[in-house]
Amino acid sequence: MIDAIKNFYENHNANVHRAVHTLSLEATEMHENAREEIARFVNAKDAAEIVFVRGTTEAINLVAYSWGLRNLKKGDEVLVSLMEHHSNIVPWEILSKINGFSVKYAKVNTDGTLNYEDFESKFSRKTKIACLSQVSNVSGVINDVKRIAKVAHEHGALMLVDGAQSVPHMTVDVKDLDVDFLAFSGHKMLGPTGIGVLYGKKELLEKMEPFQGGGEMIKEVSFSQEKEQCDITWNDPPWKFEAGTPNISGGIALMEAVKYLERIGMAEVLKHEKLLTEYAVKRMQECSKVTLHGPSDLSSKCGIIPFSVEGLSSHDVALFFDNYGIMIRSGFHCAQPLHQVFKLQSSARASFYIYNTREEIDRFVEVLKEIEQL
């Protein structure tokens, strides 16, 4: 991945879709190859369904503003769950203040699993879009987004999936899931920061208005002497949503990360994480002052373990681990409503990926046992 960035800047650095010179043509070919590779990775039917963005947050904001701003009105409802990352709540709340629609929240059970009955019961003719994370960034709970997408479509609603925590860890097939939008980030899947993807069904992207204005997203800007204004024709998707110079090296590096993950196999990635999670949970249960949050049924979750240590704030716990070179997250993890469900002020979060080992978990538990003594 790092070599790909270096190679781009050393040998092919130019803007894409702009010029006829050699470097620009090379950069364009690499940029569009990356799009095709990523389309294959999530099984999109067309590379035009892959829009490069800065990350999951920007992808969701793109849908909110390009689709929501023009399609959501007073009386309409957007359905989200209480386990969402703030990125899948706040854009809808901001837009609701502008357009006057309502944001409805589906319940989460006390163990962090989705309350499917509540989610499904909240669909009505008013529901225009349902937004759900495929994997919770706090609890690691895997949601059956295919089931929710089916119900959404039966009610004439669209389905947006926050795939920030699922695409890096498991096979995600947009055709099989039949979701309308899928958002994910490069930096959570061995790629660089500042690059992410919005997948959108082509027919939806074609109907949507642009997100931002500038170069690349237009076919023509023609000044009319008669009207004294510019007539503008939008470019086709995905470029219609990629105003300005894109993160070219980021997309190319993400492609390399995707190829690397594909060589391992996404089923193997998930299997490895599940084994580590089972082992870590078992070892962490040796600690009497440690409370694990989330479901006890580990088959429905990924490699994320939220926990608390009696008498200590999550930040104390994280800073203690930091002394040993073990980096864990502390706080709300940008998901305050879910912490309210858990009745927690905050939590510490251990998470695993393909590079983690059982030996690292042993070391983690060793330090955790020291923390218990504080």
Binding site: L319, S330, G331, L374
Partner: protein
């Protein structure tokens, strides 16, 4: 003459209801900072020379040998600055 800014790299609020402030000291000053604070604040507890539970002017805080400290219950940025000045200067 030294200032608090000579020692502090960053101050960030923690998220969560146990609202506090994390002070990250400059890496090249961290040993000096830890020594000064341990001399001036009241040590309540310590573990393995890694974490120190301290009190100073009715404020409780934890100091980590990695050069970070978590302060809780400090009312304002100005109050925190005064405490840091008293501890470090």
């Amino acid at each position: 003459m030294s200032t608090v800014e000579d020692y502090v790299a960053r101050i960030e609020g923690t998220c969560g209801e146990e609202k506090g402030v994390i002070v990250t000291f400059k890496y090249d000053k961290k040993d000096e900072v830890v020594a000064k604070i341990l001399k001036r604040a009241q040590l309540k507890n310590s573990l393995s020379g890694i974490i120190f539970e301290l009190a100073f002017r009715s404020i409780s805080f934890r100091l980590f040998s990695s050069g970070k400290a978590i302060f809780k219950g400090v009312q304002s940025k100005e109050a925190l600055h005064d405490i840091l000045a008293a501890l470090l200067l």
